[in-house]
Point group: C2
Chain length 65, copies 2
Amino acid sequence: MCEANAYIVENGNEELLMESVDIVEPEEDNSSYRLISIFGEQKIVKGRIRMMNLVDHRILFEKVM
Amino acid sequence: MCEANAYIVENGNEELLMESVDIVEPEEDNSSYRLISIFGEQKIVKGRIRMMNLVDHRILFEKVM
């Protein structure tokens, strides 16, 4: 399976937001993203994408100043 | 391998931008993204992310009006 783990970077630290993320889609306000895991779990992340590394299964978000 | 294919949606049609994308990162202007494939190929996409579906290996971009 090719899901990824999503992290948010804050003060230089990475905090795990969700494991096994399947779907990432922007919310209508365009300042947050909806994450949906392969288990159907959902979470809204306020921030923007800093980097996705699919081979390493990593999606990094960062807060917008 | 867990890379994905990147498409841009225009007038309801999906056009393939790049196969085997590993890395997606925003450019400094925040209105475009740099794609890097597992082969080292690079491409800049002007637009925003509409949807990522990692299990289906799909990243959809759309142009900003």
